[in-house]
Amino acid sequence: MLDDALIPEGAKRCAFPIFIIGIIIVGAVLLWGVYAMFLCWFKGLNQTNMNDYYGFALWIWADLAVIAVGGGAFFTGLLKYIFKVDDLKNIINFAVIIGFICYSSALLILAIDIGQPLRGWFIFWHANVHSMLTEVAYCLSCYFAVLTIEFIPNILENRQVNKVPFFHHLAHNMHEVMAVFAATGAFLSFFHQGSLGGVAGVMFGRPFAYREGLLIWPWTFFLFTWSAAAFGPCFTLMVTKITEIITGKKLVGDKTVNLLAKISGWMITTYIIAKIIDTVYWAFVTVPSMGFELGHFYSNNGFYGYWILITEVILCGVVPGLLLINKSTRENPTTRTIAIILGVIGVCLNRWVMVLQIMAVPVMSFDSWALYIPSWQEVATTILPVAYGIILIAVAYRYLPVFPQELELNEPADAAAQN
């Protein structure tokens, strides 16, 4: 094949043309998104269906969602390098790549979302340290730097690149001190995941969002960090599963998978308990003190009903949690996969509620519910990162030794793999 020299030693990859065709197909979707992106930049945000009631909409949700599911990177890193859970080395590379994709996407979406992209740097230069968004911006960009650093060695391990002694050594040395980077990453993640929760929690003008809390941090701050740590691994596992299906190979050993699933399970369960407590306190103490009954937030409109609360907390919270802490259901591929998918849906739904439902709920007694449907430009720019992610994973998988176990798990002569 054309690119043999680049493909990891001994690994089987699909024929180059097939690979290219795949890339082109996904690339088309990517270009569509890029086109929409430029429309938003040059014509302004009138290209979206946002309005003065929906200052935050699909994009901010996408942002929160990808960062939440990207949380798998920092949490896995934390376990691997700080708590020395060595089995995770089999999935850490992939976790990092996924994290890298999620965070780069998040930054891109933010760059499209703001009305004055060329002034975006004001958030750093003229920072208001009391704003949760400032905290988000800082930690987000710093942690993205960390992810890049964590990703570099993997790139340097490409067969050709690695031949350059300098790069070879660089990769080696970076692995040596990776723990330090991972620690910093964990620290940063804790804060920006949290402050993303804080973004909603501090809005005391918006009873649906407002939460009491600890010092300057509303409870949502901790809930967001926690949920990211809990559901992030689910996403890592889900993407691994998908990759395995597409490549038709086993890439990560069951031991590792089950371990991560178990950890995730316990995190989810503990998180959801906290979440339930928070919701109950909010519903029966916080909100009534502002003159609202719980029903106000789930009635008199065409979309937001109690179903969304139940789906998020019970169906996509309690259920996956239990499925994953229970040994038999965890080690059964079907139930495990179901739990993982439910978990990912759950965390995305939580972020949706904490962005869009807040905007939809009327606060003034004479105001009314506001519902919104995104414009195609918004949808396209939101799909853009997905396409970009697929391409990056495809390329990484093809040319980098992402899965240390790949060779041993796919002993001799398995059929020519598909990409």
Binding site: F124, W125, H126, A127, N128, V129, H130, T134, E135, Y138, C142, A145, V146, I149, P165, F166, F167, H168, H169, L170, H172, N173, M174, E176, V177, V180, F181, T184, F187, L188, F191
Partner: protein, 52 residues
Amino acid sequence: MFPFCFEWVWDIGHAIFFGGFWYAISILGAGMTYCLLKAAYDTINDKGDSHH
């Protein structure tokens, strides 16, 4: 962001926030610098083959 920025005030809020920020930045910076220098050093010392 910097003490000479318009918004900068010497208060606890800025101390904590930017303290954390610059701390993180310096660790990352130091870490990378170390790796790069070390890598350069190794490259020069072992001509091509690196045995440990």
